[in-house]
Symmetry: none
Subunit: 190 residues, 4 copies
DNA sequence: CATGAATGAGTGTTCATTCAT
DNA sequence: CATGAATGAACACTCATTCAT
């Protein structure tokens, strides 16, 4: 499972293989349980060779988080763009829900990494995360302002409930389309 | 943070301290990342002494899962009993939602442990878990049968979305009452 | 497997059970590999209780060696006494060979302990051992003086060859009588 | 004390040092008592580094047994070859006795390891051992068939008595030539 | 770019020993 | 007499990291 994009150089391809292997390891064994030797083996390398591509274990995992978030953001952007800038808030929220579910499913390993409770607030990954959750809070607020969602609730709380719900079932292996339409139905979104 | 109950013997008290410490460690560092030395230190022991109380690291963590699930089940039972056997399905579901949110919040460390993706299907903990999720699926199905929830959706999917939503925000530190009422509002549960 | 003797007191019986269990453990796992908890369990006690009967692990094992040697010496004495003080040297040596083989077989666990390469020279056990091997050197020398064994060889070397041969096969499980007569035959002892 | 052969690579030399150190440790403290830290220290490494060269403690010790047996077998082959294919059985047995005594003495640590009562029947080492003892049984049977040894005794029993005798005195430090000629004399082989 | 070899700090676990009960 | 509870040192083993090759 890879995140996107083409790479020309050999080093770039190895880097990509390492990221994928690391995402899988973190998904399977948790951030603390992910072993560099296992990652290296899965990428066809010896452990020491990782250090040619990443400064440290910490940086490798950070890079996984960044890649995962960047790809998820791209998908959100693409989905909203496809909907059109002036689409009604409910449609935009539906598109976002579907995009999130699909991303959580397709980038599963990367997503699990992002969910780790010890996610670092700082660094590029933290910034990307803040970006993503900020965008979502806006989408929810818009939908509340048009009455599609109850406006008695803090939009960030709604967003977090949605993330929790979508992530949990997407990672459990359910088809993302099913998860998304279940959410539409429960929220009477549409 | 402890799970409940009084213990008379010295060994029993140490065991309880170990369970609490282990729950906290697992919550903080994940199942794979939880270290026995850290757990022992938090419980005021040396690492080796754990083995007087638990056969192995694995058994200690299993015991944490069991305690957490047992306490959560007790709370669900109590909440439903308080509602009365013949309460309407919507009220019963609301009570369950509130109980789950409160439990997830108050037993936070134990709950996080239960959420670990590598939760063991077998053993006592697995059985307790199956019990709990089974009960919830029934509650959802009842609420669907009376029209309080859309019946186009697999009740187990609804249940998992609810768990995901409630766990995520409860563990993030939000007051559980707030999370519960947000869910009532979003689901138009009254 | 016990070494001999009757004991009246309860403490004495526990001590005996501990010695037997220790002999078995040492025989099975080697001196270094013998675990006090295993010994205690085999004797129906908890590890800590051993210290009521023996000062330390070291002393317990030493006591095993002493018991084994004492019993082996008793058997040698009895066999020679049965032969009569004035029996011919060849008959005395044959009796000693048979007694040693039988002892090695019947006291197998204790014998194995005595054979451990890290046998302590000092202490009571060392003295008993020196006694036993000294007696044997004399028996061999007598047999050489009457021409029953080649007298070109250091009697202590002969003794050690005999010990090595008899111990090895007795411990391997062969019936001791068979081992003894094989040795008679090979040495043309009659 | 090393077993034979030259090695070019650095890793190969470290491996050899580890084998020698392990043989010595096993000889001194028994199979169960041999500690990896001690072995590593004797080989000039830290304990963890052993795992670059051997999969586990078990495999390291197994390798010691294999090396010891392989070297002992080579010496037996060489001794018999030097005697010539058509040498009389008594001469062949004498050569074998001398070769075994010399091997037990020169490869002392490895030999002691091979003698450990918990020798594993399976694996390469077990096969080598069966090979060696099988060859010896044949040598004894030949000598019996020509009347050089009493033929009333099971040749495997004779072989085990010889092993026991030779091993015991060789390991005790006696010059192997002396042990071998003592055995010739006692068996009237000479 | 990548590996072979090593390290030092960490892991979970066992064990002899102590001592209050 | 014996156990329950704890310790501290050892154990085998893993791992992130380094660096010469």
């Amino acid at each position: 499972m890879t995140v996107s994009g083409r790479v020309r150089t050999k080093g770039g391809r190895t880097r990509r293989r390492l990221l994928d292997a690391a995402a899988a390891e973190v998904a399977r064994n948790g951030r603390a349980g992910a072993s560099l030797s296992a990652i290296a083996a899965a990428a066809g390398l010896k452990a020491g060779s990782i250090y040619f591509h990443f400064e440290s274990r910490e940086r490798l995992i950070e890079a996984v988080l960044e890649e995962g978030l960047r790809a998820t953001l791209e998908r959100l952007d693409a989905a909203l763009a496809a909907e059109g800038d002036h689409a009604p808030p409910a449609a935009r929220l539906r598109a976002a829900i579907r995009a999130h579910a699909v991303a959580a499913h397709e980038l599963r390993d990367y997503t699990v990494a992002v969910l780790a409770p010890d996610f670092p607030d700082g660094g590029t990954a933290g910034a990307l995360r803040r970006d993503y959750v900020g965008r979502w809070a806006e989408l929810v607020a818009e939908a509340q302002s048009t009455g599609h969602l109850p406006d008695s609730v803090d939009p960030r709380l709604v967003r977090d409930l949605l993330f929790g719900a979508l992530n949990a079932v997407s990672l459990a292996g359910r088809p993302p389309a099913e998860a998304a339409s279940a959410v539409y139905a429960l929220l009477r979104l549409g």
